[in-house]
């Protein structure tokens, strides 16, 4: 039977004590020849965990690197259960773009505005 990243993540999330099981998870994946799915699996585990504690997976993309003060200010806008990932994306030209749970996007970047203008 072929398992996908989601199956591994669900099985892992269902187990109680996680710390000593991480190694075992990857051993099982290696045995099944599914190590290529490890990054996907980690992401899925993260997604499931955030969902379980009632938070959201937030991705904030800035056009250029922010100083720690601005970054902290932005991060403080989200709930304590949210998992916030920040990233630098020069393609945005200026501004920022926020994605929630990989599903909803708030685009406040210059590239997005220009695109809207000339659409």
């Amino acid at each position: 039977m072929k398992y996908d990243a989601k199956n591994y993540a669900q099985a892992f999330a269902a187990l109680e004590s996680k710390t000593d099981l991480i190694k075992k998870l990857f051993s099982v994946m290696r045995k099944n020849g599914d190590l290529s799915q490890s990054i996907k699996t980690v992401k899925e585990v993260e997604k499931l965990h955030v969902k379980k504690i009632g938070g959201h997976l937030i991705e904030v993309e800035f056009a250029r690197a922010q100083d720690s003060k601005t970054r902290e200010k932005v991060l403080s806008q989200f709930g304590k259960h949210d998992r916030v990932i920040t990233r630098v994306m020069p393609d945005l030209v200026a501004g920022a773009r926020i994605t929630t749970d990989g599903e909803y996007e708030l685009d406040m970047s210059l590239s997005g505005r220009l695109e809207k203008l000339f659409a």
């Binding site: 989601k6 996907k40 393609d91 994605t99 749970d101 990989g102 599903e103 909803y104 996007e105 708030l106 685009d107 406040m108 997005g112 505005r113 809207k116 203008l117």
Partner: protein, 538 residues
């Protein structure tokens, strides 16, 4: 330090540039920029998590609807269109309509809220377009572009590729003939406007030739028909040849070619007939008559099978997906004859199916046979015997066309099918003809004459008012005794004679009324006698 000279020079350049630009363009742009309101809103997005073989799996976009047009933003900033096909619990299976190699994992996907549409209008006539409605004949963009959001005036409109077929209330029965110009078909398997008639046969039996002759014949028609030829999975060289042939004959003046050659990815082959149907529907909706030829639906089914297997849909018989019947039925149901309240337009469909070794009981042929209103069955044996078009009259049928057949043709050709059937029964005895009684010998001779007269070369369709007198002559025994070799010669001379001497009193009234009444029949009889008097040899 800023160099003032360079600033002045660049300002002068800028000024020159602005002067060179058209005033209208600048004004329009100014208005757009001034009126632009930036109102950032949360929108639904997705991410490509898998991309291969022209198929992408997308996570997110949980609000996407089936058949929705999606846009994938590639890393290069380019946008590639895709159509949502499989709506799974976790993912969307989408088919890519652009260059699949540019799509990679992690690309952002947005929904458009629209279904796939193409621009349609009178400007498409005479053009060769891709299944997405883009002209590919090197003659430039379409004359007027579609910009409804900018309030631009246009004669083109967007038509969805998938649209529900006209309902029962808006239809009327098929009652107007669509002449193919092929004697055997117009006489025995008549096609009506709004009908779906399948052309089926093995490779190299003349299926496309029949379709092309039908297009060529429309230039003889008093009520014009817009033709749409959809090439699905054909060789580029063949499509180019067809386009050249139609252009040389002047048929591109009323024809659109939708080209989806074999080199295109399966999703585009899949979309091609729907694009053809959408174009045809535009003309039908505007009260005109249209004819769409799907050449061929076997390759279309193969393309759909490829897509479905890549989308991991369960394979069924011959590995086709379970909805292959529905795919063709919903396409062919769009052919219709609308009632007067809906404009009275029509869309006739001539789907083509290629059989393997004459096996009409295979999955796709039986499906399409059951969907259509009849079939023209072409046989390799007849083709190699020199009987061209190689129509097997016994297996061919038109279920609704007889009510649409021109009255004159109906009157003349009524007993043609019967006489040919009798001939086929007796054909086995042809070689023992000397031992047979006179009546049987006469039937065989008549059958041979009829077979000969129904032969017709490629690209030479005949208008019905030429076919009626020729068939009248043969079926009423005026040619009895004539050798088979002389039949073609007789036909050519007789038509020339009618055109030269009886255009006013016979061909003209026949063409305009479509009826061979007693007066015209008397004229025809007299004409035949006169012709025989002048040409006693034939």
């Amino acid at each position: 330090m800023v160099n003032m000279n360079s600033i002045c020079r660049s300002l002068a350049d800028w000024k020159n540039f602005l002067h060179n630009m058209s005033y209208e363009i600048v004004e329009k742009l100014k208005r757009e920029i001034a009126g632009f309101k930036d109102d950032p809103k949360v929108r639904s997005v997705g991410t490509v998590i898998e991309a291969a073989d022209g198929i992408a799996r997308i996570s997110g976009l949980s609000g996407a609807v089936s058949q929705e047009l999606l846009e994938i933003e590639t890393h290069g900033g380019e946008k590639i269109a895709a159509v949502a096909f499989n709506l799974d619990e976790e993912f969307i299976g989408a088919v890519l309509l652009g260059e699949a190699s540019r799509v990679s994992v992690g690309n952002r996907v947005t929904g458009t809220g629209k279904v796939l549409s193409i621009p349609v209008g009178n400007e498409l006539v005479g053009r060769v377009i891709s299944p997405l409605g883009v002209p590919i004949d090197g003659k430039g963009a379409l004359a007027s572009e579609v910009r409804p959001h900018q309030g631009g005036r246009t004669s083109l409109r967007l038509m969805p590729l998938e649209r529900a077929a006209p309902d029962v209330v808006s239809r009327q029965s098929v009652r107007e003939p669509l002449h193919t110009g092929i004697k055997a078909i117009d006489a025995m398997i008549p096609i009506g406007r709004g009908q779906r008639e399948l052309i089926i046969g093995d490779r190299q039996t003349g299926k496309t030739a029949i379709a092309l002759d039908t297009i060529l014949n429309q230039r003889n028609e008093s009520k014009p028909v817009v033709c749409i030829y959809v090439a699905i999975g054909q060789k580029q060289s063949k499509i180019a040849q067809i386009e050249r042939r139609l252009r040389e004959a002047g048929a591109m003046d009323y024809t659109v070619i939708v080209s989806a050659p074999a080199g295109l990815p399966a999703p585009l082959l899949y979309l091609a007939p729907f694009a053809g149907a959408a174009i045809g529907e535009h003309f039908m909706d505007s009260g005109r008559d249209a004819l769409v030829i799907y050449d061929d639906l076997s390759k279309h089914a193969d393309a759909y099978r490829e897509m479905s297997l890549l989308l991991r849909r369960s394979p069924g018989r011959e590995a086709y997906p379970g909805d292959i019947f529905y795919l063709h039925s919903r396409l062919l149901e769009r052919a219709a004859k609308l009632d007067e309240a809906h404009g009275g337009g029509s869309l006739t469909a001539l789907p083509i199916i290629e059989t393997k070794l004459g096996d009409v009981s295979a999955y796709i042929p039986t499906n399409v046979i059951s969907i259509t209103d009849g079939q023209i069955y072409l046989e390799s044996n007849l083709f190699y015997q020199g009987i061209r078009p190689a129509v097997n009259v016994g297996l061919s049928v038109s279920r609704v066309g007889s009510s649409a057949q021109t009255k004159a043709m109906k009157k003349v050709a009524g007993k043609l099918r019967l006489e040919l059937a009798q001939f086929r029964e007796l054909a086995a005895f042809v070689q023992f003809a000397s031992d047979l009684d006179d009546a049987t010998r006469a039937k065989i001779a008549r059958g041979e004459l009829l077979t000969e007269v129904l032969k017709q070369p490629d690209a030479s369709p005949l208008p019905f008012y030429h076919v009626v007198p020729v068939l009248y002559v043969v079926l009423n025994g005026y040619l009895d005794g004539l050798t088979k070799e002389k039949v073609r010669d007789f036909e050519t001379r007789f038509i020339e004679y009618l055109e030269a001497r009886h255009k006013e009193d016979l061909l003209g009234p026949l063409a305009s009324s479509g009826v061979l009444d007693e007066t015209l029949e008397a004229v025809l009889k007299k004409t035949i006698e006169q012709y025989h008097a002048i040409n006693p040899a034939n």
